[in-house]
Assembly symmetry: C2
Homo-oligomer: 232 residues x 2
């Protein structure tokens, strides 16, 4: 049995969470990857998550099914809401109600069973501009909750929510991931990728990603569907 401390790492199949997994592994954790199948429209995400988990030889990759698709409320789960091509003011329509709260809660339950006290989530400074559940004060509040609401927390263990990307730009994230051997060709960032993982090139997420590779001065392994990469 491994003597390294265990960590639960949330992975979505995207660039940020793949980098987060690489960082957790680099910090010496025995990584248990978790993805949530919540009826996301971009199903290829879960395939990518599997490829990413495999590429880092995690101890286990668990996909938890959550029947949230009947709830709607987001362009990412509700086919009645279009995915926006540009980011407007305020919180984007791609915000999924309480998503990180739900994901962290499921990860917390698994961590408690595994005896892990460390959770990793790839929230970023870029998301921070729009999503409320990516801000440092939210993460701090979650950590407080985790330690009050669990057997492990009450009995003296301390949960720690790691957000290694929170202050990094997309370019910084990509540079760090490249240094740690992330194969970004396995990841999908596009909000409306096709079943092969090829990106649309026009949604917010594609634009942030393409811009990140440009700013990092690194070649972009993203596969696009039917047009030139965003911004080119």
């Amino acid at each position: 049995m491994s003597e390294r401390p265990r960590a639960v790492v949330l992975i979505s199949g995207g660039l940020d969470s793949a980098t987060t997994l690489a960082i957790a592994k680099d910090q010496g954790y025995d990584c248990y990857a978790m993805s949530v199948d919540y009826g996301q429209r971009h199903r290829v995400e879960l395939k990518s998550a599997h490829w990413v988990a495999e590429s880092f030889a995690v101890a286990e990759h668990k996909v938890v099914r959550l029947g949230m698709s009947g709830i709607g409320g987001s362009a990412l789960t509700d086919s009645g809401i279009p995915v926006p091509e540009t980011q407007g003011e305020g919180i984007p329509s791609t915000y999924v109600p309480a998503r990180n709260t739900i994901f962290l809660s499921i990860a917390l339950g698994w961590a408690e069973v595994l005896g892990a006290r460390d959770l990793f989530i790839g929230v970023t400074a870029v998301d921070y501009s729009g999503y409320p559940d990516c801000r440092p004060e939210y993460i701090e509040a979650y950590e407080t909750l985790a330690n009050l609401g669990t057997k492990a927390g009450v009995e003296g263990g301390r949960f720690h929510i790691h957000t290694p990307l929170i202050d990094l730009s997309k370019a910084d994230i990509i540079r760090e991931g490249m240094r740690l051997g992330v194969d970004y060709g396995l990841t999908v960032s596009c909000y409306q990728a096709d079943s092969e993982g090829r990106a649309c090139g026009v949604c917010d997420s594609c634009r942030f990603r393409a811009q990140g590779f440009r700013e990092a001065g690194l070649s972009d392994p993203t596969r696009y569907r039917d047009r030139c990469p965003a911004g080119d």
Copy 2:
């Protein structure tokens, strides 16, 4: 369309959550009931939740499936852990890792979509003795989190987590429920009820329930399987 404020009420099929629903309805809320199918061993709970929701004519009863059964860690989901017949010291083995955190998170997501700002959960002073995620400080921390981590919270709405039973004894809960017309014959409290909803009479939950009816001086409609009711 109803002009009453909407509330999401977590119901499990048990006595406490049925009473909580009755209270929410009595307070004038348009009630949206939610149950989570998390692979609980006592499957009849979900049938009872349906009967309870129907008896209070809720606006909607949503059962969200969550594939947690592979995670284990509790006597309530893991068939390898026996259900205890007496309560020992500390946190009982029937504690489900992060259960209320997960349930509240899913309910919060639905509330946000519905435009509801009120969530009801039937945590009690009895549970409080053993479960960390039933204590007032935990509920306060959750409320803080909900307001930091949601679009609605950030944009000025205030979520409120109602715990109308938190200071009530089992007997008080039963008296209140009877006053509000709860049919406790529809509810199942037993941790190992059979598929007809008949109780074992020996688990902690059966004992608390039977004692509650005795202390309230009310007749107990619980159906038992193959022995005299607990404590008789």
